[in-house]
């Protein structure tokens, strides 16, 4: 049975799309069949991060409105066999989506044998975000270690607990996971940034991953390569760990401390 995972946050710019792309890649590289769907209708981004923007012919809205089949709209990733992208429409607005339409697409993906459906939620708590989370079995709440992001995540967690199908039908609760992004151990030490423990304490959830702040994320986005595929990067290792934890592994958190400066760097004040 396929598992539907929503990547959400409330606040914009915290790394939802980066996370969706990397988690989807990480799962697919482990042999899972994965579809990653951009729910940000009108502000299409996932295709850029995945590097398939020039291959988008049909999108999510076209499928829902019956302009094309799901197969026509799914873009097969060039790097990983089992990974597919369903792009958002850039020209429509969020009213083009409906709960029934989304359900139909999910049912078709499930019938097609997908293991994971990753829903990249738009920012905010409006219709787009609601649709992205409504059918989810799990939620990855992406949070930056700062107060406004933490508060927005708290709000999103409240909605996950009340405005989703599982909540409305009184079924088993959605599994919620926290993923901290743009974590800078140095700034935590200086008190500019909240620590993992602070965020965990306020939101009362377990942390599935801590992604260090790194320029690698931006260069990966520019290159259209999900950052998890840049294996030299700590960001990639941190996302790999998060994917492993999603699949049930227990691993200690990494990259929580400032990297030790090497001898030369210390000599030259690098």
């Amino acid at each position: 049975m396929a598992e539907i995972i929503v990547v959400t946050s409330g606040k914009g710019g915290v790394g939802k799309t980066t996370t969706s792309a990397s988690v989807a890649c990480g799962l697919a590289r482990r042999g899972k069949r994965v579809a990653v769907i951009d729910f940000d209708i009108g502000l299409r981004n996932l295709d850029l991060i995945m590097g398939c923007e020039r291959r988008v012919v049909y999108d999510f809205v076209n499928v829902i409105q019956g302009d094309c089949t799901l197969k026509q709209a799914l873009i097969k990733d060039k790097r990983i066999e089992t990974l597919f992208v369903l792009a958002a429409s850039q020209t429509r607005d969020k009213d083009a989506l409906s709960l029934e339409g989304v359900r139909k697409v999910f049912d078709e993906l499930i019938a097609d044998g997908f293991d994971y459906i990753i829903c990249d939620s738009p920012a905010g708590i409006e219709k787009g975000a609601h649709l992205a989370m409504y059918y989810a079995d799990r939620a990855v709440v992406v949070v930056n270690p700062e107060v406004s992001s933490v508060r927005d995540s708290d709000r999103i967690l409240g909605l996950l607990a009340s405005k989703t199908q599982r909540a409305e039908k009184g079924e088993e609760k959605i599994k919620e996971h926290l993923l901290l992004t743009r974590y800078s151990p140095r700034r935590v030490t200086t008190g500019e940034m909240m620590s993992v423990a602070d965020v965990k304490e306020i939101l009362g959830l377990d942390v599935i991953g801590v992604i260090p702040e790194s320029p690698d994320v931006l260069s990966a986005s520019n290159a259209g390569t999900p950052v998890i595929l840049n294996e030299q990067s700590d960001v990639s290792k941190a996302y790999e760990d998060a994917v492993a934890r999603l699949l049930g592994d227990t691993l200690p958190l990494r990259f929580l401390d400032e990297p030790k400066k090497g001898f030369l760097a210390r000599m030259f004040g690098g």
Binding site: S98, H130, D154, I202
Partner: protein, 249 residues
């Protein structure tokens, strides 16, 4: 296509609590004619102020308890004078009974008024600080909330205490007609005695509150008092003042 979704998302009603100023009309007679004459004169003196204004009738100055039919005539007179009587001011048990038979609300004064009226009849016990509108017994057991109350969520315990075994996030609201007990961290707002119960209290295990309110008296914490922050704290109403203290020293 979108209709069912909207139906799920948008509740038909939204209940909000707020305080409004309300004129009180204290009557010294139940003679509808006299009241009509006098009120008509008052309304005419400041029509833009009194015309269709909602008023609450205060019966505490009457020498004997009026009957329901007396009161119907008084309501009618007030309406004909141009005001709209919406209820009776809180008073004795007899006022409650009267309000019930007239099918109008009893409006509680949120704060105990310092000075009693000069013609306070004996029947109104001076110490009877406004009891709840409902019968004093809290019928339903406390409302239990085991999930965290997240930012933007609101939990209301009607006619009872509220017990939260988890945390109340910043921007969340927990409200009870009775006391509010939080066995976790309070970062949001806690409102006890939402309908005027002045003996209601707020208790929490870890105090980081944004706002505490009891029976309409509230305090906003722009900065948290260092002696209370993160500690187990209770809040109660002492006359018109909200007081706070650590629990267990």
């Amino acid at each position: 296509m979108n209709k069912p979704l909207e139906a799920v998302r948008e509740p038909a009603v939204e209940i909000r609590f707020g305080q409004v100023g309300l004129a009180q009309v204290r009557i010294r007679t139940t003679d509808a004619g006299v009241i009509l004459d006098e009120l008509t004169g008052r309304v005419a003196s400041a029509p833009q102020f009194f015309e269709r204004t909602a008023v609450c009738l205060d019966l505490s100055a009457l020498e004997k308890e009026p009957t329901a039919s007396d009161m119907r005539a008084v309501f009618d007179a007030v309406r004909r004078a141009g005001m709209l009587a919406v209820g009776l001011a809180h008073g004795t048990q007899a006022v409650d009974t009267l309000a019930r038979s007239l099918d109008v609300p009893v409006l509680t004064q949120f704060r105990v008024q310092g000075k009693a009226s000069p013609v306070q009849p004996v029947k109104e016990a001076p110490k009877a600080a406004p009891p709840p509108i409902e019968p004093p017994v809290l019928h339903p057991p406390s409302l239990m909330q085991h999930q965290p109350v997240r930012s933007g969520q609101r939990v209301y315990a009607r006619n009872s205490d509220l017990v939260v075994t988890s945390t109340v996030g910043a921007g969340a609201e927990v409200i009870a007609d009775g006391c509010v007990h939080i066995y976790g961290t309070l970062r949001g707002r806690a409102v006890a005695g939402a309908r005027g119960e002045v003996t209601a209290r707020v208790f929490c295990q870890e105090f980081h509150a944004e706002l505490i309110s009891i029976a309409g008296v509230f305090r906003v914490f722009e900065t948290l008092p260092p002696e209370l922050v993160g500690k187990p704290v209770q809040a109660w109403l002492d006359g018109d003042d909200l007081r706070f203290a650590r629990i267990g020293g």
